[in-house]
């Protein structure tokens, strides 16, 4: 009972939110759409939270989230299709391959000091390059969709006919991503990354190995997203080069920035609010007024950026701090 005895406001909130999250598929079980929407929000939550390691803490404007997701999806999906290897294992191998690929890209990038807009452009190009490469690589990719087997469902092959299992898998991934984020934030690496994010040159002068720190951040980020890619392939039931999706990669970075760079819960909060809002607007207006929902979504985004440039998480941080101050005074 130590956990309960030492419980403070923050822990109480986390526990309450976690219990709510656990109960969502049960409450929504008659409506597959809403469970899918919740799972999609979690998917973006995982990606944006993972992005926070490299984009938030280390300050590297990374636009390659769907490059690593695509690699994870293709590795897991191909192993499943070719060798009947269950995606439960395939997703780990996908994560490893994605992080290995990130290392291959990261070593020369950081070696030659590619940063800021140049890093953004390079990672943005990476998604498109992979898309073209996988489109041409007939043995695993090619233009034709490759459907995963067991479409009527198989637990051991991570193929489900409802979304609730995917929801829980994604929730687990989210918890892992948040814990990794929190752990890194409070570690020596986290302090290095935050310093790099503030001023790279100054950090280097102080003797921090910038290159190694950024590479570590990149490996954590790409591994988590690569694993998510394996789940993504199982959930969508096929693999295709369109998984290397440039606009969606940008969306992940936007969620990370709008949520609050470097704040562990910020990107998740942005995913909850913005992905939810976008889908709500699409489902309500998309059929009758083509494109209007995208316009409204863009306006919401501009308002958030104008009035809360440090991220929407700061609103909640401020409220939390006020409560905490009151608690201390009492």
């Amino acid at each position: 009972m130590n956990f309960f005895k030492e419980m403070n406001l923050g822990k109480s909130l986390i526990l309450i939110l976690f219990v709510i999250a656990l109960g969502i598929p049960y409450v929504l079980r008659t409506n597959q759409y809403q469970v899918l929407l919740a799972t999609t929000v979690l998917l973006y939550g995982v990606m944006a939270t993972s992005w926070n390691i490299v984009g938030g803490l280390a300050g590297q404007l990374d636009f390659a989230a769907f490059a690593y997701l695509g690699i994870g999806a293709f590795v897991s999906g191909t192993l499943f299709i070719r060798f009947n290897l269950s995606p439960w294992f395939g997703m780990f191998i996908g994560g490893l391959v994605a992080s290995g690929f990130a290392l291959l890209i990261g070593i020369p990038l950081f070696r030659f000091g590619i940063k800021e807009v140049w890093y953004a452009l390079t990672t943005s190009a990476l998604v498109e390059i992979l898309k073209v490469a996988f489109n041409m690589w007939e043995k695993v990719g090619g233009p034709v969709e490759r459907c995963l087997p067991y479409f009527s469902g198989s637990w051991q092959h991570m193929r489900f006919v409802t979304y609730a299992p995917f929801y829980y898998i994604m929730l687990t991934m989210l918890v892992i991503a948040l814990l990794v984020n929190q752990r890194i934030t409070n570690s020596k690496l986290g302090y290095y990354l935050k310093a790099i994010g503030e001023d790279e040159t100054a950090t280097e002068v102080l003797g921090v190995d910038n290159r190694a720190s950024k590479l570590k951040a990149l490996v954590y980020y790409s591994f988590l997203i690569g694993m998510t890619g394996g789940i993504y392939a199982s959930m969508y039931g096929y693999i295709h080069p369109s998984f290397f999706n440039g606009p969606e990669s940008t969306k992940v970075a936007i969620l990370g920035i709008v949520g609050g760079r470097g704040i562990t819960f910020g990107p998740l909060l942005a995913a909850l609010l913005l992905v939810g809002a976008q889908e709500f607007l699409r489902a309500s207006l998309g059929g009758e007024f083509s494109g209007l929902y995208l316009l409204i979504y863009a306006i919401i985004l501009i308002i958030v950026v104008l009035f809360k440039p440090r991220g929407i998480a700061t609103i909640f941080q401020d409220i939390y701090q006020k409560f905490k101050t009151k608690e201390v005074k009492k």
């Binding site: 309960f4 005895k5 030492e6 419980m7 403070n8 406001l9 109480s12 526990l15 309450i16 219990v19 709510i20 109960g23 049960y26 409450v27 008659t30 409506n31 597959q32 759409y33 809403q34 899918l36 929407l37 999609t40 073209v132 489109n135 041409m136 233009p143 034709v144 969709e145 459907c147 479409f151 006919v161 969508y236 039931g237 096929y238 295709h240 369109s242 998984f243 999706n245 969606e248 889908e279 699409r282 489902a283 998309g286 059929g287 009758e288 083509s290 494109g291 929902y293 995208l294 409560f323 009151k326 608690e327 009492k330």
Partner: protein
């Protein structure tokens, strides 16, 4: 109380958790969507935003006209004249939004059928859901593989992509014969999607079946920015004619490259219905569009009262004749109507049961009526995979700035132009 001390938070946390559980139990008693007597809900799932919106919007308008005409004609007569009601969702352009839209439309409206999707990968995603929910899907995506993965509730009245590739080649051969021009060498081009490849496979097979020599074949990225090397390659290979499956922008790039390099073969035939002969392409290309042709899964020139009515009303509203997307979904809705009628006759006790409706689809054998009157051929039936084995494409050629049906010759509204008067080799 809540913030008094760290330890006292325990009580409130536990209380809050209990409230949450009670709230969840209450929420769990959510009402199921009630049946909607008096109307049959049909879902429209098309890309209304993004790169393919131009096709999706046309498809949606085609469906709207069909529902209007069906209801004006008395609805589903075998079910006591129940009218159709169309509900619409935008599927966007990626798998995620397509899946959300499909789940959303099914959970909100419980449609008996959905039409659309247009893009094959989106259809793949959506059809997994419609299979699970046993909702009939009338697909307008033409990639062959859509019907090759064992879907039970998916039907595709339109000619599949390989059939379009075959039609393009056969049209050129027949036109050449009629014109007394000898064609032996063919060049086959396609953009690098599954749709492009399916078209090219049909063209290759037709070329081989007809004893042609494939002297040049290329699959290029759909976002190609310079086609000059490919145009040079075709000229070097001395292809008599080119059969090409583009999307919109690449068709423009190729047409301009042929003209600018002045390396124009005897004929350039599009396949797959995107690019060259659609109103947007004609507008974008201007005079350069002249003599290009493309296949079409719809025949706007079919001389029937139903088709004339559709073409007139569509043209009055949209400003141009119905495109392929509009036509496919117009007759697709009529095919659904005929299946509903048959289901009402065969299974009066439960006509909207998905298995009964599926059975009705499989038993359809239409040779007359509004569906056939607007269909490229005069026979609609479905094989076990959900394709119509009697499907065939028509060919539209740009003549004097307008798309005219030139093939099948017996249904042509204008005489084809072959070979191109501006051919340079």
């Amino acid at each position: 109380m809540f913030l008094k001390s760290k330890g006292l938070n325990v009580n409130l946390t536990i209380k809050t958790l209990i409230y949450i559980f009670i709230a969840m139990m209450l929420l769990n008693v959510s009402a199921f969507s009630a049946d909607l007597p008096g109307k049959i809900i049909v879902g429209c799932l098309e890309p209304l935003t993004g790169a393919h919106a131009v096709f999706g919007i046309e498809g949606k308008v085609g469906m709207e006209f069909a529902v209007k005409h069906i209801n004006e004609a008395g609805g589903i007569k075998s079910l006591g004249g129940i009218p159709l009601e169309l509900v619409i969702e935008d599927v966007g352009e990626d798998a995620m939004s397509a899946r959300l839209a499909t789940e959303s439309i099914i959970s909100k409206h419980s449609p008996v059928a959905v039409l659309g999707l247009y893009i094959s990968r989106l259809t793949t995603v959506a059809s997994e859901i419609t299979e699970r929910e046993k909702v009939i899907m009338v697909a307008d995506a033409l990639v062959d593989d859509i019907t090759e993965v064992g879907r039970q509730y998916l039907f595709r009245p339109s000619p599949k992509a390989s059939m379009q590739g075959r039609s393009a080649v056969e049209y050129v051969i027949e036109a050449a014969e009629k014109s007394g021009v000898k064609v032996e060498n063919i060049a086959i081009l396609n953009e690098d999607s599954s749709f492009g490849r399916s078209n090219a496979i049909g063209a290759v097979q037709a070329a081989l079946d007809n004893g042609l020599t494939i002297v040049y074949q290329k699959e290029y990225p759909y976002d190609i920015t310079d086609a000059s090397s490919i145009v040079h390659g075709i000229a070097t290979a001395k292809a008599d004619f080119v059969v090409h499956c583009p999307y919109f922008m690449d068709a423009i790039i190729f047409a301009q490259a042929f003209r600018e390099l002045n390396l124009i073969p005897k004929y350039i035939a599009g396949m797959g219905a995107c690019g060259y002969s659609d109103p947007e392409s004609i507008e974008a290309l201007g005079a350069v569009a002249e003599y290009y042709s493309n296949t079409c899964s719809y025949n706007p020139a079919k001389d029937t009262a139903q088709n004339r009515k559709f073409v007139e009303e569509y043209t009055a509203q949209v400003g141009h004749i119905p495109t392929e997307g509009a036509g496919m979904n117009y007759y697709g809705m009529w095919v659904l109507k005929e299946a509903l009628e048959l289901s009402g006759e065969l299974y009066p006790e439960d006509p909207l049961n998905p298995d009964n409706l599926r059975s009705a689809f499989l038993q359809l054998d239409l040779t007359s009526g509004p569906a056939v009157d607007t269909y490229p051929t005069n026979h609609i039936a479905f094989d076990g995979k959900g394709d119509n084995p009697h499907a065939r494409a028509t060919i539209l050629q740009v003549i004097n700035g307008e798309s005219k049906v030139v093939w099948p010759f017996e249904e042509a509204e204008a005489e084809f132009v072959f070979p191109r008067p501006d051919a340079t080799y």
